[in-house]
């Protein structure tokens, strides 16, 4: 999700890094352009974000429903590791009504997924979201995009998935890595962890090796994370976390 004023400062860095790893990438904006961006019938601004999201999913439902299996919404300051998203989704069925992301507790009875961290809808979840608006079961009753979508998901009986890895570590992150990774003495939840549905862990256990997203990532950090994820490599290092080996061990027991 982007806007004309951000194309140079933000969106071009997504296009240069993780955007090209999507099977299809659509840059949703209020205006069509040669970037290329899709022009939706909305104006810009935080209070228009939910309208923009609704229009974006309606557009995808109309033009691209059969072009993909899963549908990720991210912001123009979100960094996403596509391979880890595919890995996380691989055991799930896109014909089931499911959506994944960073689960938050408040405002919606079943909870909802953080908008900034990015969330991904199954094909069935997308159908139900669009149908909800078409049938008047869902409406634009809030400006807050992630809460609004979460409420509609609840109404349309779409389930919230658990995106944590096999060790219970988070994969979607609404803030940059240093918020979570820095070691802390045991303390009450800081403000940015107050909405967490699952008990938050601070320090190295916060985050999966196979992280899917980080948010509030500026242009320099975008390329830095790209470098860390895809380039910088400790020669010969045997990673501690090997999820496939783990599941193999369980099968042998």
């Amino acid at each position: 999700m982007t806007q004309p004023q951000h194309l140079k400062s933000r969106t071009q860095h997504i296009r240069a890094t993780w955007g090209r790893r999507c099977n299809i990438v659509l840059y949703m904006s209020s205006e069509a352009s040669d970037f290329p961006t899709v022009g939706l019938n909305v104006s810009e601004g935080r209070n228009q974000l939910y309208w923009k999201t609704i229009r974006a999913f309606q557009h995808i439902h109309m033009h691209h429903l059969d072009d993909a299996d899963w549908f990720l919404k991210a912001d123009d300051d979100t960094f996403v590791v596509l391979e880890n998203l595919r890995y996380g989704l691989s055991k799930h069925n896109t014909e089931e009504p499911l959506y994944f992301g960073r689960r938050f507790k408040p405002f919606v009875a079943q909870g909802y997924m953080s908008g900034g961290a990015g969330y991904v809808l199954s094909k069935e979840a997308l159908r139900r979201f669009v149908k909800g608006f078409a049938d008047g079961l869902c409406s634009h009753d809030t400006n807050i995009e992630d809460i609004g979508l979460g409420k509609c998901m609840e109404t349309m009986k779409v389930q919230l998935g658990d995106s944590r890895d096999v060790l219970g570590r988070q994969t979607f992150h609404p803030y940059p890595p240093h918020y979570y990774l820095t070691r802390q003495l045991p303390r009450p939840r800081p403000w940015y962890l107050l909405y967490e549905h699952y008990h938050p862990v601070e320090g190295p256990g916060c985050c999966s090796d196979l992280a899917i997203s980080f948010h509030y990532i500026d242009a320099v950090q975008m390329h830095t994370l790209e470098y860390y994820t895809y380039h910088l490599h400790p020669y010969g290092y045997k990673y501690r976390f090997n999820p496939d080996e783990r599941s193999d061990n369980r099968n042998n027991n």
Binding site: E83, N84, R86, R183, L210, A219, Y227, H233, Y237
Partner: protein, 317 residues
């Protein structure tokens, strides 16, 4: 008078010719070292991937043992936060890491050299490390403000013989002298350490206390002493010629690259096999630790020829 004059002239001419001949031979020889191994090049690269693939398992396992590293981390109580960070992060990947301090701290362990002068401290640390090396043959000297990826250091020196004199890092020039920059880390082979211990005894060429009025940085003092021992600085770089030792932070290098190479920021910036970065805050280092040793895309296999195991009792790698 004339007779004496002509002898004098003959003497002068012969002496002059002699000097010319000697200096001619000196320039001829100055590029080579009598120790047998030539270091004519000042660029040092890792062994190629093709060559590594040809190695037998036993050779591989020999090299894995030989390439173990002793880290000398030069700290002061003023650098306590970085000291603690180095202790908690990259130093765990050294086969042996020893913190050498100017004065002791109640909070962290170190060898207390009780020495305020940085050059004198470095000399003492080198001596201590040489005496306590055990069977370790590679030495890495750094301040705690540097972050090092020891596995990539090992890869760089994998096929180099530590009984030869190596002095590697990011090289700079001070006049005619090539030296390895301290802030991006200094790699020394066992033979270099041995020669240093020897030259430390030479108070004229390698004094412990320099001129009190004019403080020469330790990095150039080290280079000078090493030059007298026939050891010369070499710039560590990857197969593409990218420098492996950096004193700047990752974000600073990325930011520079965004300005200079906007079409290819990451490719143009930094090596995949980078060894050091500097000038990073504690939280940036925690993220770097995660970025190096954990964060990765599922399914990518680097097909490395060697294996280095993760350190014991560590949770952030």
């Amino acid at each position: 008078m004339m007779y004496e004059g002509s002898s004098f002239m003959k003497g002068m001419i012969l002496g002059g010719i002699f000097c010319l001949v000697v200096s001619f031979f000196e320039t001829f020889n100055s590029g080579t070292h009598s120790e047998g191994h030539e270091h004519l090049h000042h660029h040092l690269k890792p062994v190629s991937k093709d060559e590594l693939e040809k190695l037998s398992e036993s050779q591989m396992s020999d090299w894995t043992l030989q390439v173990r590293v002793y880290c000398l981390i030069m700290v002061t109580p003023k650098l306590l936060v970085h000291w603690a960070t180095a202790n908690d992060t990259w130093s765990k990947h050294c086969d042996k890491s020893v913190f050498y301090t100017s004065e002791s701290s109640k909070v962290l362990e170190a060898v207390d050299l009780q020495e305020q002068d940085e050059w004198a401290r470095l000399r003492k640390a080198i001596r201590h490390a040489y005496e306590n090396a055990g069977d370790l043959r590679w030495f890495f000297v750094a301040r705690p403000t540097t972050f090092a990826i020891i596995e990539n250091l090992k890869y760089l020196v994998l096929d180099k013989d530590p009984s030869q004199p190596f002095y590697i890092g990011h090289t700079e020039k001070s006049g005619e002298l090539d030296y390895v920059e301290y802030d991006s880390g200094i790699v020394l082979s066992y033979e270099t350490m041995r020669r240093l211990i020897e030259i430390f005894k030479d108070v004229d060429r390698c004094p412990e206390r320099g001129n009190a009025l004019w403080k020469t940085p330790e990095e150039t003092q080290l280079a000078t002493c090493l030059k007298y021992s026939g050891v010369f600085a070499e710039n560590g770089e990857d197969a593409q010629g990218k420098g492996l030792f950096n004193k700047k932070s990752v974000s600073s290098l990325i930011s520079d690259s965004m300005g200079q190479n906007p079409a290819d920021v990451v490719e143009a910036c930094c090596s995949d096999m980078a060894i050091t970065f500097g000038g990073m805050s504690q939280s940036q280092i925690q993220v770097l630790m995660y970025g190096v040793y954990r964060l990765r895309p599922y399914g990518h296999d680097f097909h490395d020829s060697l294996t280095f195991l993760p350190p014991k009792d560590s949770d952030n790698d």
